[in-house]
Amino acid sequence: MVAAGISVLTTILIVLSLAKETISFFSDVSIFDYLFGGKWTPQLAGDQASFGVVPLVTATLYITGIAMLVAVPLGLLAAIYLAEYAPTRVRKVVKPILEVLAGVPTIVFGFFALTFLTPEVLRPLFGTDVSQSNQLAGGLLVGLLVLPTIASIAEDALTSVPASLREGSFGLGASRLTTSLRVVLPAALSGVIAALVLGASRAIGETLVILLAAGSGQLLPGTVGSPTEPSGSMAAFIASTATGDAATGSIAYETIFAVGTTLFVICLTLNLISISLVNKYRQVYE
């Protein structure tokens, strides 16, 4: 039964393999310049290269922000519908479909943005100067990608609220709407927030959609934050730079590990928040 140890071993390996290259990265670039530097041009040669990660993190959060603008309202409304309003028959059909959709490979979403959303929808709407890879398309599709995840987990949280709370609310004369929004939603709040945090963490770590639809993370000055321009994200930068060719010990090789560490720490923090929220809401009703 040493098998369980493998999972701990995996974590240790992730941390070690990230840490080793990251440490040698920081022997070349000062940690202060990396964390607070405002210029991200790792692709340039020699002294021109600058490794300030702030713009890359900003670009990642900007795309995640667009994604959450799409996914949070749609996902929550769909979850409330499924948990509180939908007839059992509808729910039995829709829930498995949601779960299958959550398993569609992410490259499919990226490809759709590249070949349909940008040329067929965004360019007619916003003019032809919409770049082939742009942050709006990336954000919208990442939103669509995490929507089933958020809807499904939030629905689980809402369903686990005991029926007695609803019956009590109805018994006091509250309408279905009031019951859903003022009784059930607050009762499931920590679970619902955990779903949102998990969705955000998936959006931040999403690679292929952003790489295909929003850019590779080689930032040009002034593009981050303008929706029709390309930018990228931390994950997209890693995947586009690490094509297996970068030589061990080169600065490019070390950079992807430094960015990987940053991404890992951000996602780990979000996951720990989510886990502690879920544990909190479990304690209430079990």
């Binding site: 098998a3 974590t11 992730i14 409304l77 409330i80 299958v100 398993g103 759709f112 295909l212």
Partner: protein
């Protein structure tokens, strides 16, 4: 003068404590219902548009040649995905061989043996939850630094790809296997132990067969996640459009998602069409695996 009955009615109206339904409530209720229907509709229409668009685009390029030809970088008409299809199937089999014993073993340990009061068992639990949501590209970095280079130094081989994907889906397999094992009621274990079976006999002859459907379903779903992953394979350096089949564990390889990525970076619209067709191949494979999982769940699910 009013009749006694009317007077009684009036008195009742005055003493009633139940408030009248506010007419605004009905309007709000309808408004909210509209919002909910709109949300579900927008979600499903966009996802349906995605499927239909890719299906109609790729249908034209779908043929047996796609499955039996090697990829070509020059001529889209004779280009196929044979090497990627074989690569994906090999990866899936190798990942399963790697992940099933370790995943199920961990689940048995955590459910049947581990004492939750011990600190290291609690650490393992939190740790597995965390691993399940580490971005896949980070697993790619792990594969690159640890499996492809560094300690294992397997180079960019099929085995390295399978180990990387295996580590990626391991937490998912452990989580679903634990749920399946937990669903076997304690009375089954108690009955088996009371008849004189050892703990190991109880697990091997009672608990595992009872949870087999759940475990199989979970493993298939985890594997379908593994073969849809692109980022880790790109990071560890899967071959781009190879014109050969992997001939062993130490052979270079590619997989369907990586091939889709390679096609979709081409500016030639015919290659984009090939990418759509390859997506159809991948989705058919995934749907087939999902159907098997659903069939297993409904056919072998135990009602205790």
């Amino acid at each position: 003068m009013s009749t006694p009955a009317q007077m009684a009615g009036k008195a009742m109206q005055q003493t009633t404590v139940i408030p009248r339904r506010n007419p605004n409530d009905a309007r709000k209720e309808r408004g909210f219902a509209f919002l909910m229907y709109a949300a579900v509709a927008i979600a499903f229409i966009s996802l349906a548009a995605l499927m239909i668009q890719i299906a109609s685009d790729g249908a034209g390029a779908l043929s047996w040649n796609l499955l039996t030809n090697f990829p070509s970088k020059i001529n889209p008409a004779t280009s196929g995905v044979k090497s990627a299809l074989y690569g994906t199937v090999y990866l899936m089999i190798l990942t399963a061989i790697f992940v099933i014993p370790i995943g199920v073993g961990s689940a048995i340990y955590l459910e049947e043996y581990a004492d939750r009061r011990r600190w290291f068992n609690r650490i393992i639990e939190v740790n597995i939850q965390n691993l399940a949501s580490v971005p896949s590209v980070v697993y790619g970095l792990l594969g690159l630094a640890f499996v492809v280079r560094g300690p294992l130094s397997l180079e960019r081989t099929l085995l390295a790809g399978a180990i990387t994907l295996g580590l990626l889906v391991l937490p998912v397999v452990i989580i679903v296997a634990r749920e399946a094992i937990r669903a076997v009621p304690p009375s089954i274990r108690d009955g088996s132990l009371a008849l004189g079976a050892t703990k190991w006999q109880t697990i091997w002859k009672q608990v595992l067969p009872g949870s087999m459907a759940g475990i199989a379903t979970g493993v298939i779903l985890a594997l379908s996640r593994a073969i849809g992953e692109t980022a880790p394979l790109i990071v560890i350096g899967a071959a781009v459009s190879p014109r050969f089949l992997p001939d062993g564990l130490n052979s270079e390889f590619t997989a369907l998602p990586v091939q889709i990525f390679a096609f979709s970076k081409d500016s030639d619209p015919q290659f984009l069409q090939l990418a759509s067709a390859t997506i159809i191949v991948l989705m058919v494979l995934l749907l087939a695996m999902n159907s098997v999982a659903i069939y297993l769940r409904s056919r072998f699910e135990q009602k205790w």
